[in-house]
């Protein structure tokens, strides 16, 4: 038949195109794909920071398993190796010698850097106060350390600057090397050159840390030394690996199980292969469609692909099982296709709501499902009949089929139990306070052990609280710095109100040109300063001439050029500045991370006058959670939309609201009881459970339609086909339930439970069989 040849040819062409697209597709596991497409300014900042901000580039390292001296030595030699590695911008392990250039920089440029410098700072009165303070310092235990600074810096600018820049608490040390509590581990903080979203580069960086560590361990002959790594890059790399591994492992397992089951039923390898054709074609076209439309395919979408096996293999099962020897595949299709088609359209209808999502991740799942299901159905309808042997029929299953049908017939007696289950589910729904998880972290497949390690290292390192960041946006770097200075003044107020503990600012490292000029202009000339100093020192024990180095330094600063980014060279401060002052899309952003935030309302009041000047207070945690909550709410409304569309569709197709309702009741009941079961199991729902529910409806609508009676009461063969389809679905998704990736396990558990319940409800609620 020409028509069937055209169908097969078309199918092969589509597969070839899909294969080409997939071969060239980009695969990502970047969670930012699950952030909104049309974000607010704050959300955009957040996404950018998560993708390539400094926080995304930090790797925390712990070396343990040896006495403190060995750990310190290992940390030194590990740091030395990594500092020679271009992949790392900075390697910190507490070693103070790394800061010598920074100290020199601060000392040399103290009069341009110090916020205390203005014309009042060098009056006789101020200088006298400074000398009294210096004298006090000399008499104190710290005097011994600070003594050498006093002749060149009696006003204490260096100490002031270092205190302002050091800011946050510092970790404990052993032999000058950062260690955790009890010196059980040495700690290092690395910053990679590659941005956080470049997972391949991050993976390379991690590998080079591990190999450097292996060398250190070998060289030290300390086999007991252990390495632990954490940080966003570690999480990202691990997540990708876990998703890959789980998707691979569980879809392989599910495929093997389902294939064995089908082989046992059909007793023909050829038919088995044919049965998997719609599945494979569906998955391929699904991935290709996503790649084509979104430009990249997310790992989670791929993992989801595994689940399609459980769904789309059903079509082939219906076809094979219901084909009776006398009628052939074509005849069977003519009979069951309207029902099947309605099921397929119902499923597509449910998933198309997801296409409307503003979140690329959810939209990808929708696109994948629609393309996959449609393809699988079309291949079943038009390609399989051509490839099946003309006299194909599954034989030897009659006794089993009869038993299954009898079982379905008796399902009615379950009704009271099922009714109770529905009531129970509703009760659980009402009783639970927290039904939905609104934390993005609930999507993270990072293990609890790894999260604990991360928390422990962060605590030990006193790593800054990066939850709150004030971001100031401007057209040029210098304008951004000037704005950061205005923000700094507002934050100083907040600090004095104890609303926040402190903050970092790029303007502390590199003040704006205007500020530097103002400071430079307030420096008195040598003759004036010398005279004022002499007057201020009258009556103090300071010997005459002690402060000549000070007079010289100020004189020099008066004619020194203003500082620029380049002046910082390769200092740690320079690296830090690059993290706090970034250029993105022609705009410059100054980041001011806050620490010890206690009173957000007060903080907002302090910042209020600046809000119209492109200043944003970013609360990364609540912003992330807000994004996620929006995402979830959107998923709920889209799912409802999908459900309504399904009902309308069924009503229209069946030309009878009453019959449509009958088809829907088992589905609604199954979804309710599944939700109740999940909540009762202690899970909080994420939108991936919702996606699972949509799938339950998609799969379950087929059962319902077959039981609906429009084809007459299900025959033995139909009953067995339904049972088999159900078992494969439960296997396919149930497998995923064991995944450590929350997204996959959420979908897996939901559909696993939901599909089984759908069938039971459909059978139990089926119209009483008429005598056939």
């Amino acid at each position: 038949m020409i028509r069937s040849r055209v169908a097969v040819g078309l199918w092969l062409i589509v597969l070839a195109v899909a294969a080409t697209i997939i071969a060239n597709a980009r695969f990502s596991t970047d969670l930012s794909a699950f952030l909104p497409q049309r974000p607010t300014a704050a959300q955009q900042l957040l996404v950018d920071e998560l993708r390539d901000g400094v926080v995304s580039k930090l790797i925390l390292v712990s070396v343990s398993g040896a006495p403190p001296d060995v750990l310190a030595a290992a940390s030194r030699s590990l740091a030395e190796r990594l500092r020679a590695d271009r992949r790392f911008v900075s390697v910190d392990n507490g070693d103070e010698s790394q800061f010598e250039r920074d100290r020199a920089f601060v000392f040399e440029h103290r009069y341009l850097l110090s916020p205390a410098v203005d014309a009042d700072h060098f009056t006789v009165k101020s200088l006298r106060t400074a000398l009294d303070d210096a004298l006090e310092l000399l008499g104190s235990p710290a005097g011994m350390l600070a003594k050498s600074l006093i002749p060149a810096d009696p006003t204490g600018e260096v100490l002031r600057l270092i205190e302002g820049m050091a800011g946050t608490a510092r970790p404990a040390t052993h032999e000058g090397i950062w260690v955790g509590p009890d010196a059980k581990e040495a700690l290092l903080v690395l910053q990679t050159r590659a941005p956080g979203f470049d997972i391949d580069a991050q993976e390379e960086a991690l590998a080079s840390i591990r190999s450097a560590f292996a060398e250190v361990r070998r060289a030290a002959g300390a086999e007991a030394l252990e390495l632990a790594l954490t940080g966003p890059a570690v999480f990202a790399v691990e997540t990708r690996a876990t998703i890959k591994r789980d998707a691979m492992r569980f879809s392989t397992l599910a495929t093997i199980l389902i294939a064995s089951l089908l082989l046992a039923t059909f007793r023909s390898p050829r038919v088995l292969v044919l049965g998997l054709l719609p599945v494979a074609s569906g998955a391929a076209v699904g991935v290709a469609a996503v790649a084509l439309h979104f430009g990249e395919v997310h790992g989670i979408t791929l993992g989801f692909g595994a689940t399609l096996i459980g769904e789309s293999v059903d079509y082939a099962i219906y076809l094979f099982m219901q084909t009776e020897p006398r009628r052939g595949a074509a005849g069977t299709l003519a009979r069951i296709w309207p029902t099947l088609r309605l099921g397929v359209v119902t499923s597509i209808c449910g998933f198309s709501a997801m296409l409307l999502s503003g979140f690329p991740g959810l939209a990808q799942l929708g696109m994948f499902s629609i393309a996959g299901i449609a393809t699988a159905a079309l291949v079943t309808r038009f390609v399989l009949p051509v490839l099946l042997p003309p006299d194909f029929a599954v034989t030897g299953i009659e006794p089993l089929a009869a038993r299954v049908r009898a079982a379905f017939g008796r399902a009615r007696i379950l009704l009271p139990v099922l009714g109770l289950a529905v009531i129970g589910a509703i009760a659980v729904w009402i009783a639970r306070d927290q039904r939905w998880s609104d934390e993005l972290a609930s999507l993270s497949p990072v293990s609890v052990a790894q999260q604990n390690l991360d928390q422990r290292l962060r605590d030990a390192l006193g790593a800054a609280d990066v939850r709150h960041i004030v971001v100031a946006r401007s057209g040029s770097a210098d304008q951004a710095l000037a704005l950061a200075e205005r923000v700094g003044k507002a934050l100083d107020t907040a600090v004095s109100h104890e609303a926040i503990g402190g903050y970092e600012s790029p303007a502390r490292i590199l003040p704006s040109a205007a500020t530097q000029m103002h400071r430079r202009d307030s420096l008195p000339e040598a003759r004036v300063l010398r005279a004022r100093m002499a007057e201020a020192a009258r009556g103090t024990p300071f010997r005459a001439g002690t402060f000549e180095p000070f007079v010289d330094a100020v004189q020099q600063a008066r004619s020194a050029p203003l500082l620029e980014r380049e002046s910082l060279g390769g200092t740690k401060l320079g690296i830090h500045l690059d993290a706090l002052l970034v250029q993105r899309d022609h705009a410059w952003y100054a980041m001011l991370p806050l620490s010890g935030v206690k009173d957000v309302a007060n903080l907002r009041r302090a910042l209020a006058p600046l809000y119209d000047a492109q200043v944003v207070l970013l609360d990364t945690k609540s912003e992330t959670d807000a994004i996620y909550a929006t995402y979830r709410r959107e998923a709920v409304s889209l799912s409802l939309l999908g459900a309504i569309a399904i009902v309308v569709l069924l009503a229209a197709a069946m030309r009878s609201p009453g019959r449509a309702l009958k088809v829907c009741v088992p589905l609604v009941a199954a979804v309710l009881v599944t939700t109740g079961a999940l909540l009762a199991l202690g899970q909080t729902l994420t939108m991936f459970h919702l996606v699972g529910m949509l799938l339950v409806v998609a799969v379950g609508s087929n059962y319902s339609l077959f039981f609906d009676g429009s084809l007459g009461a299900p025959s033995d063969h139909t009953s067995l086909s339904l049972a088999l389809a159900n078992v494969t679905t439960v296997i396919g998704f149930g497998m995923l339930g064991f995944s450590s990736v929350p997204v996959l396990s959420a979908i897996g558990t939901t559909v696993g439970i939901g599909a089984a319940l759908s069938l039971i409800f459909a059978a139990a609620l089926a119209p009483r069989a008429r005598a056939s």
Partner: protein, 200 residues
């Protein structure tokens, strides 16, 4: 009588006996040496003293004087509380130095390993108090002299970094107690501290 002073007494007897031409026998004859002093110091679990300190700095034409209390708890806690002219606290615990100045205290916590000079200085006193000869000798060349009632240690730093900061530290004492610390700094500044132990 502490075991240390009994041993010192025995040593005295042994020396006296020795001078009569007998050969001292066995462990009872331990002579008064650095090890002996260190063991005696190590046997002190805690001590308190009042101190007065004078600092002679080249940039000043008269010394800065201060006084207060010192408290030591074996093996590594040392507290120096200055009361005159202003309240100031320096607390050393293991590797951590806490400095507290001002009437509404401003706290600064330093890690000694970040400040090798500070560490060398702190260890000179703390290791002496703890009778920790090994640590003392890690930082200093130790010269010992005097008798149990009037001993003195002369400490000269062994590494270059400390040398650039401290030239010599002289610690004097009586039995298990320190009575004076003099520090000569490399830049010519010096300080003299004398302690009067609170007898407990």
């Amino acid at each position: 009588m502490t075991s240390g002073s009994r041993r010192a007494l025995l040593a005295g007897i042994a020396a006296a006996v020795g001078s009569f031409g007998f050969t001292a026998r066995g462990e009872e004859s331990t002579p008064w040496d650095l090890g002996q002093l260190m063991r005696e110091l190590a046997s002190v679990r805690s001590a308190r003293a009042r101190f007065t300190e004078k600092r002679f700095l080249r940039m000043l034409d008269r010394p800065i004087e201060s006084s207060g209390t010192l408290a030591y708890e074996a093996p590594s806690r040392l507290e120096k509380l200055t009361l005159v002219p202003k309240r100031e606290l320096m607390l050393v615990e293991q590797d951590k130095v806490t400095l507290e100045t001002g009437s509404k205290p401003k706290r600064r916590v330093l890690s000694m390993s970040d400040y090798p000079a500070l560490r060398a200085f702190v260890e000179s006193i703390r290791s002496t108090l703890a009778g920790d000869q090994a640590t003392l000798e890690r930082f200093y060349k130790v010269d010992f002299g005097g008798d149990p009632d009037r001993w003195r240690l002369k400490l000269q730093p062994s590494d270059m970094k400390t040398k650039s900061f401290v030239r010599e530290i002289r610690i004097s004492g009586r039995r298990g107690k320190i009575t004076g610390v003099e520090v000569d700094q490399s830049d010519g500044d010096r300080s003299v501290m004398s302690m009067v132990p609170d007898d407990s």
